[in-house]
């Protein structure tokens, strides 16, 4: 692991030369590697398989409903009601896997192949190497997600025979951006572990383990911890209402998981008429009849989007700092 040995020395005087020298070289090579790798092919295939099945059933369901729905097209991505599987759910599960699959061996793989010291002895800074790798991973994810997004829309056009409205396109675009940010968080996390752990297997296992923990256990634990920190108030409980303080804690804790943030943002964008937790209070001030307009939905999803992007940046920066001080010797 990094760091333990490094005695903290006073920071070196200004480095000379651009830290971005060689960035595009690293970026394009890594991108090419990702796009041609068998690993990426398999992951893409996985998403396509699951996505196709889910979207197909959603389309069948939509065709059978005659109810008037201003957001018919969007139902392809997120069917209303308690559908077991939706395209959004498939993405929220598979996107972390793809991102981890792209990132878990990006730095330690160079050490294991013994290419690190050779590459770093070329006139580039470590910044360019790490940033190029990250951007290439993000670009790969973007390409994959945009392709998928277009495929689903194309399928919808053919199967439903109706074009999406302008507002739907807007919502779906924001949804796409949120999904890319969500992917970026997991990519940054996987790369962080690829810096911390010299073994690629360890990095992959820890990343996947953390993902499972956050996706499966954390929501329940957040409820539990929230109640422990701020116990339920009997006065609210008697009315069958959640205690606001407890609820706030539970929500705050559960948002540590990127999956929760992603889910909330997606619900805000794709289910404009859904009663999300934040609009719970509004329920008592009179039921919202009309769906939220696009800009209101974006405002609603904004904190989640910002949090996802901030989380991605924070994870990257931690990795960056660790990588800067790391010994090149394997």
């Amino acid at each position: 692991m990094a760091g333990t040995r490094a005695i903290i020395m006073e920071r070196k005087m200004q480095r000379e030369g651009s830290p971005w020298r060689g960035l595009s070289v690293v970026f394009f090579r890594e991108l090419f590697d990702h796009l041609t790798s068998v690993r990426m092919l398999v992951l893409q295939f996985l998403v396509l398989l699951f996505g196709a099945a889910v979207v197909y059933f959603a389309a069948e369901q939509i065709r059978n409903t005659t109810a008037e729905d201003p957001f018919l097209f969007m139902r392809l991505f997120a069917p209303p009601g308690q559908t077991l599987l939706s395209f959004v759910l498939v993405l929220s599960i598979l996107v972390p896997i793809i991102a981890i699959g792209l990132g878990f061996d990006s730095v330690n793989g160079e050490y294991n192949r013994r290419t690190m010291s050779r590459i770093l002895s070329q006139p580039i800074y470590r910044d360019a190497l790490l940033f190029g790798k990250f951007l290439a991973g993000l670009a790969t994810l973007t390409i994959a997600l945009v392709t998928l997004w277009l495929l689903v829309i194309g399928f919808g056009l053919l199967r439903l025979g109706i074009p999406p409205s302008g507002e739907e396109i807007g919502r779906l675009l924001v949804f796409l951006v949120v999904t890319i940010a969500y992917a970026g968080v997991w990519l940054a996390l996987a790369m962080l572990f690829s810096i911390f752990f010299r073994s690629t297997a360890t990095a992959a296992l820890v990343s996947l383990g953390l993902w499972l923990f956050l996706a499966l256990l954390w929501p329940a634990l957040a409820q539990l911890f929230g109640e422990m920190i701020s116990p339920q108030d009997i006065r609210f409980a008697a009315l069958g209402l959640p205690t606001p303080d407890t609820l706030a804690w539970q929500q705050g804790l559960s948002r540590i998981s990127p999956g929760t943030l992603y889910g909330e943002a997606v619900v805000a964008m794709l289910n404009p008429d859904a009663q999300s937790m934040t609009t719970l209070l509004a329920q008592f001030q009179g039921r919202i009849q009309t769906p939220l307009p696009l800009d209101q939905s974006i405002i609603q999803a904004w904190p989640q989007m910002v949090s996802l992007i901030a989380g991605m940046i924070v994870l990257f920066v931690i990795g960056y700092v660790a990588f800067q001080r790391q010994e090149v010797r394997a």
Binding site: T4, R5, A6, I7, M9, K12, M13, Q14, R15, E16, G17, R21, G22, V25, V26, R29, R113, R114, T115, S117, R118, I119, L120, S121, Q122, P123, I124, Y125, R325, E327, V328, R329, A330
Partner: protein, 322 residues
């Protein structure tokens, strides 16, 4: 003194409590082949990494082509080629593609790139496997590909960490030939190795590392005179009377030892063969053999570590506590 390309002063590297490199100073000149010797863990690789700015310096200073590797790493790395002790490539790419990637990182013009790669591959004898995947390369071939990368880079200084490891005798000889041609082109070569006879045959000067310090530095004869008590050994086989005294009277001869009937071993301050021959002939003796014992680096190395602790002979032995 002509132009110095590397200048290290009191260079120190600490890893926590342990000191890997402890205040070493040395210089390397343009076109010089400089050898780093010493047992495992003596600090050779650490020294190399500090010169490249690949690891932080804990104390002292080093300047490479007038640049500080810590603050101006790009300038340094542009002028220095480095062959790590275990060199690796992207196995799924061809040899030429691997070099193409490095060439792009170095910033070699695309027009010039392929030409330089082809000639570099040719020089290390990999021209006909340039389009093969490196995954199918043997250790020695990878080593040579690493050397091709340095040749392609067109550097002022080549730093080779154990370049001979994993090479067969023929490939080793070729490698040494390439190193000589680098020297011929005015490139300074710094190499660490455990093959003492090879180092001796090629290096202008060597530094003997011991537990993070440079114990000895200089040409092989200089080291010999320090470690083996000065001197050159000349063996004389001749018949005659009173030869021992006559040989002892030759200027420069410190000691004469009779090692057998008609066989003498001279300890001298230089190569005294002509004088010794003249002495034998003048004494009316018949000279049968005259040999000059070059002090071997192997002898020096082993003698040094016999007298200074450490572990003589065992080049792959225990780690040296710093």
């Amino acid at each position: 003194m002509s132009d110095l390309v590397i200048e290290a002063r009191d260079l120190t590297k600490r890893y926590g409590q342990a000191t890997a490199v402890n205040g070493i100073s040395f210089t390397v000149e343009k076109g010089e082949i400089f050898g780093l010797l010493g047992p495992n863990g003596a600090g050779k690789t650490t020294t190399i990494l500090m010169m490249l700015g690949l690891t932080e310096v804990s104390g002292g200073s080093v300047s490479v082509m007038g640049y500080d590797p810590a603050r101006q790493p790009l300038q340094v790395k542009r002028l220095v080629g480095y062959l790590p002790d275990t060199v690796g490539f992207y196995d799924y790419m061809t040899a030429a593609d691997n070099l193409r990637y490095t060439a792009a990182l170095i910033g070699i013009e695309p027009k010039e790139r392929d030409k330089r790669i082809a000639s570099a591959l040719d020089r290390v004898g990999l021209a006909d496997v340039g389009t093969k995947h490196v995954g199918a390369f043997s250790r020695g071939m990878r080593q040579r590909l690493g050397l091709a990368e340095i040749l392609m880079k067109d550097v002022q200084i080549a730093i080779l960490d154990e370049p001979t490891s994993g090479l067969d005798p023929h490939a080793t000889a070729e490698l040494l030939e390439t190193i000589r041609s680098l020297k011929h082109d005015g490139v300074a070569v710094l190499l660490s190795s455990h093959l003492l006879d090879r180092v001796q045959s090629i290096c202008d000067r060597v530094a003997l590392f011991n537990a993070g310090k440079i114990a000895l530095i200089g040409t092989v004869p200089q080291l010999a005179s320090q470690v083996l008590g000065g001197g050159y050994h000349v063996e004389v086989e001749a018949d005659g009377v009173g030869l021992e005294q006559k040989l002892g009277a030759v200027p420069g001869v410190r000691q004469v030892e009779s090692v057998g009937p008609g066989r003498f071993r001279l300890l001298a301050e230089g190569d005294v063969r002509p004088q010794a021959a003249a002495a034998v002939v003048n004494a009316g003796g018949s000279l049968r053999r005259l040999s000059f014992d070059e002090p071997s680096l192997d002898t020096i190395y082993n003698r040094y570590f016999q007298t200074h602790g450490g572990h003589p002979g065992d080049h792959h032995g225990a780690q040296n506590a710093a």
